[in-house]
Amino acid sequence: MILTTVETVPGKSIVEHFGLVSGSTIRAKHIGRDFMAGLKNIVGGELKGYTELLKESRNQAIERMKEQARELGANAIVNVRFSTSSVAQGAAELYAYGTAVRVN
């Protein structure tokens, strides 16, 4: 499954499209991560726990979008965009959407 953020898949031509596909996810941190973050507030540095959390969130959203595209029969998703919001405190929410296409 090819993902791009441009109009087309460079070097290939789009044969047909299937409309919008999207993947969303919302993951919460647990008390351990919170505690470490609190400590890091004192010494500074990268909050590895939260980085992990956001990375997992992003991966899951993209995976779900790919799955939906696959179901429709696409093999690429073009013009992918992300959107996020803080719907709940302490949770990372991510929404990825794009156009499912079939390229050759």
Binding site: I14, V15, E16, H17, F18, G19, V21, S22, G23, S24, T25, R64, M65, E67, Q68, E71, L72, G73, V101
Partner: protein, 272 residues
């Protein structure tokens, strides 16, 4: 570019599974963790608490005493019992506490040994007494608990519970009060072995005061007639069967050469 209208069969963006099951699992997990923490911390505190210096113990005791005691206004009675207590402390026992008596307005036949040297005697018990010997036995029995530091063992868990419930529920929450009431009753219980040890201690102190050990058996028989409950209530009763207690005390007396004798009457201004 051709458009092929097609709809996905399933919704990838929602995890299947009942949210109710999720809720129950999480709630159970949280409860299990809190209970586990409670017991673990209680154990840890129990190990530390015997090393507590006396004034800290007294300060920790104050809120617990306030919760348990519903003060009955009987200054005459209290003074007499305190006098007896002081006598026992100076003449017949050697304990590092300053004992204070609290008479609690409660019809149960019971007495409690709270931290800090606070002995609580329920008015129900005082009403049942017929001789000074019995009263001395009760006081000496409670002092026996102090001698073996029994009273501190429940203190650890009670403290942990108070802290946990304040953190999770906030203080003055009715749920916390409801649970803590049940918990004080169970935590202030002493085990059978502890009770037997306190009985023996009391018998020796009784002998020291009067030269004989009559009154102990009479008293034990009386509490049996009473409400049948052990320390703190009907459930979780850990009092050994009274007949067993009396039999054991008789053996103990025989082994240590303690005999019977005349019972001393209660002080004149006792029964107001």
């Amino acid at each position: 570019m051709k458009y092929t209208p097609r709809l996905p069969q399933r919704n990838v963006n929602v995890t299947p599974g009942s949210p109710l099951r999720d809720f129950l699992v999480l709630l159970l997990g949280l409860t299990a963790i809190l209970v586990g923490l409670y017991f673990l911390l209680g154990l840890a505190v129990n190990l530390i608490v015997p090393w507590l210096p006396m004034d800290i113990e007294n300060r920790l005791a104050a809120p617990i005493v306030r919760r348990v005691v519903v003060k009955k206004d009987v200054p005459g009675q209290e003074a007499e019992v305190q006098r007896l207590l002081d006598y026992l402390q100076t003449e017949c026992t050697d304990l590092p506490y300053r004992f204070t008596i609290h008479v609690s307005d409660n019809p149960h036949v019971n007495a409690l040994a709270l931290p800090g040297g606070n002995i609580v005697v329920f008015s129900g018990l005082l009403d049942k007494l017929k001789s000074e010997n019995e009263l001395t036995f009760v006081l000496a029995h409670e002092m026996g608990h102090y001698a073996h530091r029994d009273h501190l063992k429940g203190l650890g868990r009670a403290l942990v519970f108070m802290t946990l419930s304040a953190v999770v529920f906030g203080s003055d929450n009715p749920l916390a009060n409801f649970l803590s009431h049940g918990l004080y009753v169970t935590e202030l219980n002493f085990s059978r072995d502890q009770e037997t040890a306190a009985d023996e201690y009391a018998l020796v102190a009784l002998n020291c005061t009067y030269g004989h050990v009559s009154g102990a058996g009479e008293f034990l028989r009386k509490i049996d007639e009473g409400d049948g409950g052990g320390n703190g209530g009907h459930y979780f009763s850990s009092h050994p069967e009274t007949s067993e207690r009396i039999a054991h005390l008789k053996d103990f007396a025989k082994m240590n050469g303690l005999d019977a004798g005349p019972l001393a009457p209660l002080p004149a201004d006792f029964n107001l």
